[in-house]
């Protein structure tokens, strides 16, 4: 074989080997492509599966978002309702109640507009109580248009029923008219129903066509309308109470004025009485002095001997003149004290001196009647701030009284002691005493206890009245304790000297 043939054979062999190799390689490559195709298919399948999962995620997310939105809306609505209720409940002015419902709060409730209206007997058309989210011109237009739907609105009030634009029971014609009148796409209407006064309609609406309302919104507006009704009741009740209070106050003022006038009148009458008593007393004293003078001259015998009978009569004239002079003097003193014309010479006074002087003054008479007189004064008793001569008159009057009403063998005790309010003086006797019902009137002018003994014991009925005036002029108090047959104790207080 030539070299060429050998070369050709070798190349042929190589070709065969290469063809076999290529065939084997192609077989492997096809296997890889199939594998790759399988992997791609798997990946595509996985991607499709993931895409399906993504779709589930989106759908779940939508549901979650809606639930969240509902929840947020509900929470915001409830929170706003609470805020509004608090504000409305705190308002006692009827006109102010509706003004609390402002657009920002309405927006939080999910609405843009609100209107409240009703029909009042004193007004021919509908009365708009609230208009939020409407211009003045729109409000005026609404006012005239709602009368056309009066029957529908009145039925809602009488049925006490709330409706909304999504209510299945709502009349479609009425629904469309409400949307037109109030320029809203969704609404809730609820009547407000106060127990007293005019009832009305509360409407909350949304202009935005995307607004979705549900039963929860209907419930919220219903609660708000209830709150308005209650607030109106409260405001009206408050108004009534306030008016009653005002009336009462005006009556009290009127009565006070009348009482003041009566008091002034009494004061004037009292003053006239005092002036009269004072004038009459002065007028009486002059002729009395003359009578007493002439009686004394006649009694002295300077004008000749007077027959026995005449002498007796003259002595009576003299004695009665003395009594009359004392009576007139006491009247004058009371009048002076009452009118404030008496000037007290206030100075520190030692009561022991007064008690001793009064005791000495009555010693002879007491001995004659066998009445024991004693005084109980602690050594360290402080001085009192008083007018010496006036307080002495108090002592004389009270001790003299005790003497008059104490039978022979009895006892009169003067006790001076320190008390919280100053110095207290008690003058106690073992006399006949007085009935309890007489004690209140005892210090009244001209009052005399109606007892048998008083028929015999003479008195003007002015002594105790004068004593009371003098003690009170010293800013003290006077009172009496007594029992029939068990004696009496007259007590009075005087301010202590500082």
């Amino acid at each position: 074989m030539s070299d060429i043939e050998l070369l050709m054979n070798a190349l042929g062999m190589l070709g065969i080997v290469c063809s076999i190799g290529l065939g084997i390689w192609i077989v492997f490559l096809l296997s890889d492509i199939k594998q790759l195709r399988l992997s791609v298919d798997n990946l595509k399948h996985t991607l499709d599966e993931m895409d399906e999962q993504a779709k589930l995620v989106v759908r779940t997310d939508i549901e979650l978002n809606k639930a969240q939105e509902e929840l947020d809306k509900k929470i915001t609505g409830l929170y706003t309702l609470q805020t509004l209720s608090r504000q409305i409940s705190a308002t006692l002015d009827e006109a102010q109640i509706f003004s609390k419902i402002e657009p920002p709060l309405l927006a939080d409730l999910g609405f843009e507009k609100a209107v409240a209206f009703g029909w009042d007997e004193s007004h021919p058309g509908a009365v708009i109580r609230l208009s939020a989210g409407f211009s003045e011109a729109e409000t005026a237009a609404i006012s005239s248009l709602i009368d056309g739907e009066k029957t529908h609105f009145k039925r809602l009030i009488s049925d006490e029923r709330a409706v909304s634009s999504i209510s299945p029971s709502i009349d479609q014609g009425f629904r469309n008219k409400v949307c037109t009148i109030f320029k809203v796409t969704a609404f809730v209407i609820s009547p407000y129903l106060p127990k007293e006064g005019n009832k009305g309609i509360f409407l909350a609406g949304a202009e935005n066509p995307d607004t979705v309302i549900n039963e929860g919104d209907e419930e919220l507006i219903k609660i708000l309308a209830n709150q308005i009704g209650q607030a109106l009741d409260n405001a009206r009740l408050f108004e009534k109470t306030w008016q009653a209070h005002q009336e009462l106050e005006s009556r009290v003022e009127q009565r006070t004025r009348e009482l003041s006038q009566a008091f002034e009148e009494i004061k004037r009458v009292s003053q006239r009485k005092n002036d009269f008593v004072s004038n009459v007393s002065h007028e009486l004293r002059t002729p009395l002095t003359s009578i007493k003078g002439y009686a004394s001259i006649l009694l002295s015998g300077k004008l000749g001997v007077i027959p026995e009978e005449a002498h007796k009569r003259l002595e009576k004239i003299n004695k009665h003149s003395d009594e009359l002079v004392q009576f007139v003097n006491e009247l004058l003193d009371i009048a002076r004290i009452e009118s404030g014309r008496m000037t007290l010479k206030i100075a520190p006074v030692n009561l022991k001196n007064i008690v001793d002087e009064v005791g000495d003054m009555l010693t002879v008479q007491m001995k004659e009647r066998q009445i024991a007189f004693s005084s109980i004064l602690p050594d360290a008793i402080p001085e009192v701030m008083a007018d010496y001569s006036q307080i002495k008159r108090v002592f004389i009057n009270l001790v003299n009284n005790a003497f008059k009403y104490t039978q022979a063998g009895g006892r009169i005790t003067v006790r001076v002691q320190r008390v919280d309010t100053g110095i207290q003086v008690d003058i106690t006797d073992t006399g006949c005493g007085m009935p309890e019902d007489a004690l209140d009137k005892l210090f009244t002018e001209f009052y005399r206890v109606d007892t048998a003994i008083n028929q015999e014991v003479k008195g003007t009925g002015l002594g105790l009245a004068m004593v009371k005036h003098i003690v009170e002029a010293h800013k003290g108090n006077i009172w009496v304790k007594s029992k029939v047959g068990a004696g009496s104790t007259f007590s009075f207080t005087l301010p202590q000297s500082v």
Binding site: L47, D51, A54, K55, V57, V58, R59, D61, I62, D210
Partner: protein, 404 residues
């Protein structure tokens, strides 16, 4: 250093509210006489005319930017009603110009953006400019063109940060405040420059869920087909809702489950919430989407949102640290402006308070914070491939720290 004072009031009367908020803000400032700039945000129950009148009476000749917002906050509290005020005095070497443009739609978005850019640039000559802060009364699709026009003047990759104060669906709000004017269909901006540093942090907290899908037909912000199926099918499949129900509940669903676009180099997906669904099943998004983008359905929890807030503040601090070395070797202070998307804040609910606590605690004590709930945000994307181009964002929290 920057001298800041913040104040707030919940008085119902505009005169009393402005007076109280400004008084509180002034008490917290070192220099009570010199005020360079005032930010004012108020609720819609206070009339813008009254706010403007009273602010200009109390702060004559002070540039005022702000407007009517549905929620705002300071470092102390969140507010739904009332007014918040931040008074700022900038340090020597810092420069800013403020300007406004209104009737954007009639002027054309692109032209309006260019006009505002020119107004803002008028105060800057040789001074290097750093950042534009923008307030819109509402952000719509046209705002991409507006930003384009603005960047035509300020620079293609010039950082612009801003937000809309009102929802594009809400025409009842009174709009922006710029100095003594209330503006509608407008943008008011500030261009900062000179010795002043910025750090911006952006996050949303939404995570991708399910397998990736490809946007197979899109025009601007309208996604026609996903995986060659009508775009709405994505929601039908994942939510198991029929078409009418999705349309009915779109407002809520769009906030909870926006779509996300994977952007290479970005930590988070770019969110696109759905504005409307057309009858052919196409989704009208709040912002453009590039054709062929890979999209995922997005989901969040309160925890992921709060974690995002924490990350946004940290990112702002990190970015600030990188820039701050240039100027502030000595003492400086910071003010923080936060744009927090309203839907995001609404989704957080009561946890919005926790979020504010996280922001305040992540910053140094005494840092002045003012924040507003926004409806769409504009901010640059961090990734290199986008060259810092400003992009329309949804459901973001943007934390801007300014140091000087």
């Amino acid at each position: 250093m920057i001298d800041i004072g913040t104040g707030a009031s919940i008085e119902k009367n505009d005169v009393a509210a402005v007076e109280e908020a400004i008084r509180h803000a002034k008490t917290k400032k070192v220099n009570k006489e010199r005020i360079d700039l005032a930010f004012v945000f108020h609720s819609s129950d206070l009339p813008a005319s009254g706010i403007i009148k009273n602010v200009s009476a109390l702060l004559p000749n002070v540039p005022v930017l702000g407007g009517n917002a549905s929620g705002f906050f300071t470092h102390q509290s969140l507010y739904k009603r009332g007014i918040v005020v931040m008074l700022v005095t900038f340090p020597e070497g810092a420069l800013f110009t403020a300007g406004d443009i209104h009737n954007i739609s009639s002027a054309g978005a692109l032209a309006a953006g260019e006009q505002l850019g020119e107004k803002l640039l008028s105060g800057f000559k040789s001074v290097p400019r750093n950042l534009a802060l923008l307030f819109f009364d509402r952000l719509t699709q046209d705002n991409a063109e507006f930003i384009g026009g603005l960047q035509e003047r300020l620079g293609k990759s010039f950082p612009c940060v801003g937000a809309s104060l009102s929802s594009p669906d809400d025409s009842s709000r009174s709009g922006l405040i710029f100095n003594k004017t209330a503006l509608r269909d407008a943008c008011a901006g500030i261009l900062f420059g000179g010795k002043i540093s910025f750090g911006l942090g952006l996050r949303h907290g939404w995570k991708p869920l399910g397998k990736p899908h490809v946007i197979t037909a899109v025009s601007g912000n309208v996604v026609h087909k996903i995986d060659n199926e009508p775009a709405v099918r994505l929601y039908e499949e994942y939510l198991a809702y029929d078409f009418p129900r999705i349309r009915k509940e779109l407002k809520n669903l769009s906030v909870l489950y926006p779509i996300g676009i994977r952007i290479a180099g970005q930590d988070e997906y770019l969110l696109r919430s759905i504005q409307t669904i057309n009858s052919d099943g196409s989704l009208v998004c709040r912002g453009d989407i590039p054709a062929g983008s890979v999209t995922r359905l997005m989901i969040s929890t309160k925890e992921t949102c709060l974690e995002a807030t924490r990350a946004a503040v940290e990112e702002a601090k990190t970015n600030l640290a990188a820039h701050a070395l240039k100027f502030h070797k000595e003492k400086s202070s910071r003010l923080v402006i936060v744009f927090n998307s309203f839907p995001r804040a609404a989704a957080l609910g009561k946890d919005a308070r926790t979020e504010l606590k996280i922001i305040a605690e992540s910053l140094e004590p005494g840092t002045g914070i003012i924040g507003v709930n926004s409806f769409g945000e504009v901010a640059p994307l961090a990734t290199q491939s986008y060259h810092g181009q400003t992009y329309f964002q949804n459901q973001m929290i943007s934390v801007l720290i300014i140091e000087g």
